[in-house]
């Protein structure tokens, strides 16, 4: 998909690398912005909408990382399933007062400090030399390759995950059930 798009752009005289870089930084910047709005918006419903956008942005970033399958999964599961769930939960609890006047208090300042500190530390770590790539993988991972891996090398974790999903399903039903008295 992306390759098709790139092909199209290069055919019209736009250099491929420039296009890729421009789109990536645009998408990444927007995604970070959306993420920021997720945590900052007063209305929880707005947060949910921004979260959808953020997740979509992340899915796009996956494309730049040669992970088309994961991008699809991200959209299908996160946006299609998990976010639906969030919105259901918001609906079910919306009569509670969710709008809050946000004032900058000590807690928020400290939290911001912690977040920034961690970000700064991460930056410092990223700039260390140890991360420099050794070899690029010659061919991007195809869907076939992932499917084979899941069914062979990671067969057991895969089954465990399915078991975990089942447990979460049953647990959620039990927790959310209205007890009859």
């Amino acid at each position: 998909m992306l390759h098709g798009l790139l092909q199209f752009l290069s055919n019209h005289g736009i250099p491929q690398g420039l296009v890729i870089q421009a789109t990536f930084y645009g998408i990444a910047g927007l995604t970070v912005l959306f993420a920021f709005l997720v945590v900052m918006s007063r209305d929880i419903f707005h947060s949910a909408v921004f979260l959808v956008l953020t997740l979509f942005g992340v899915a796009c970033v996956y494309l730049y990382l040669d992970a088309e399958f994961l991008a699809g999964v991200q959209i299908l599961i996160y946006i299609g399933a998990i976010m639906t769930l969030f919105i259901f939960a918001i609906m079910l609890t919306s009569d509670a007062k969710t709008r809050l006047a946000r004032k900058i208090d000590l807690r928020i300042a400290l939290s911001a400090g912690a977040a920034l500190a961690i970000f700064a530390i991460f930056l410092k770590i990223i700039r260390l030399d140890a991360w420099q790539p050794q070899t690029l993988s010659p061919t991007p991972l195809g869907l076939t390759q992932i499917g084979k891996s899941l069914m062979t090398d990671f067969g057991l974790p895969f089954e465990v995950i399915s078991l975990l999903s089942l447990a979460a399903l049953v647990g959620a039903i039990v927790i959310g059930k209205v007890e009859k008295k």
Partner: protein, 639 residues
Amino acid sequence: MVKFAHLIPIFPFAAFVINIFFGRRLKKASALIAIAACTASLALSLWTFLGLLKGQGSYPLFDWLIFEDFTLHVGVTIDSLTCAMLLVVTSIGTLIQIYSIGYMSQDPRFSRFFAYLSLFMASMLGLLLADNFLILYMFWEGVGLCSYLLISFWFEKITAAKAGMKAFITTRIGDTGFLIGIFLLFVASRDLSFAGLSHINGNTGLYTAAALLIFCGAIGKSAQFPLHVWLPDAMEGPTPVSALIHAATMVAAGVYLVARCFGLFLTHQPALICVAYVGAITTVLAASIATVNNDIKRILAYSTISQLGFMMLGLGVGGYSAGTFHLMTHAFFKALLFLCAGSVIHSVHIQDIQKMGGIFNKMKVTGTTFIIAGLAISGVPPFSGFWSKDEILTEIFHSGHPALFVAAALTSLLTAFYMFRLIFLVLFGKPRSELHLHESPKTMTIPLIILAVFAIFAGFPGSPLMNNVFQSFIHLEAGHAAQESSPDYFIMGLSTLIALSGIALAYCLYIKQKKILPQAIRSRFAPLYQLLSNKYYFDELYDFLFIKPCGRIAKTLAGFDLGVIDGAVNKTAEIVVILSKIKAWIDTTIVDGAVNLTAKTVGLFSKELRKIQTGSVQAYLLFAFFGLVLMMLFKLIVK
């Protein structure tokens, strides 16, 4: 050679342990355990006896108390004296325990009684087997303790409790002397074993003193004059106890002790003479008291004292085998007498012979055995007592002390008289009060019959009829050969005559003219009667001489205690109180202050720190992230 004799006391001791701990649960089975243990001891004693006949003797066990220049070798004595005593003690012990099943059947402390009896048997057998004075003294005190426990067995009765104490304290006086005697002997010879007694030499004065002090112990234990006062009171205990401990075995321990140390006495004649005279005084004294007493058990108690004195007398004139022979025969018939008395008391529940009478018709077995025992103790041939008494009389006659012979002869007369006074008053005539007679149960009558057989035949081994086998068996090993006593028909005839005349006298007084004559005699010799029935005022004398002064001293000391010592104690206490008040002040202000200060400081801090504990999850998370940040920074900076 099998060394098992030291196991003999173990069985009764094991029975004691079992009965004292599990007696409540065992109930009647405790008697079976005690008797089984006793029977086992009897069997072992028999085996030991057979071994002795084959020439097996004493043997060492282990070394105890090892000092630089002295080692106490603990061993087991096995000689003819020990064996004879072992057989007597175990056989009579077994029979009396069987008898006790019936006698004590209604008692709430049934198993306790058998526990004590077992402990007594263990101590007594240990005493017999001991081969040195220290071990003997341990068991000596053991039997003393059992005697105390059993005399005051019915301690709810105040007289019984007091009798127990009296017995214990009186014997203790003798035991103190005994202990000092042992110390003297040790100082003089640095040897505590009996075997060493036969070859001591030098330092005659010290050894004589030691012998006399050891005899003190015998006086206490065997209730000789002047410490005889405890034995009659000891009759407050259950009758089987009186039979076993205060007639047959424990009181004979004194005689046994003298016999055991006979080597010492023999080489130090003054001590031996002292033994003879103490025995003579005791025997006459006790026999005369017995003639007027009216309590069936006390008569027998005085008789026991008298007979023990008789044995002492026999030993005192050098009649080692005669004395021990009488010790053996006496054990059988005196046990029998007590058991008969017990059987009678069990039936009629009174002890005053003036209220009894005519019992023979209803209690044939008891009556018959009673008469057999009476004949034996009176010295009528061919019963056992005759042979042993005859031996002693012969010894005294040949020893050259006319006064002693007169005393012995007088005692024989008195013995026959009081014994048949007892028999006639109890068994014959008409009942002088309401008596509900019934024969005792089988467990009581069978021991009576067995003992009666012994009372008849036990004398034969020492009689000329069997060539004096007993005497040649028992003779002192230490060179003192058995005296080759050809039967002395004069003495035999004389003693028979004395016995028969005593019986005849009793018959005249108590059967023929039952009412008139005794009272006439009594009024005629009123002062003498008073003297006798008050037991020569010994108790009063001791009360005046020792107990009252002791009481006075004790009161003075108590006053001293209250005034001076308590005063000092109180003053000390007051000082302590003042000191404590000072300490309390220090405690409350300084120590508590410091503690409170610490607490307040901590409180102050926590009051502030408590605010961190907001209950808000996010606040906690925030701290956690700060922690994470710090850790990462640290890692980055240090690296």
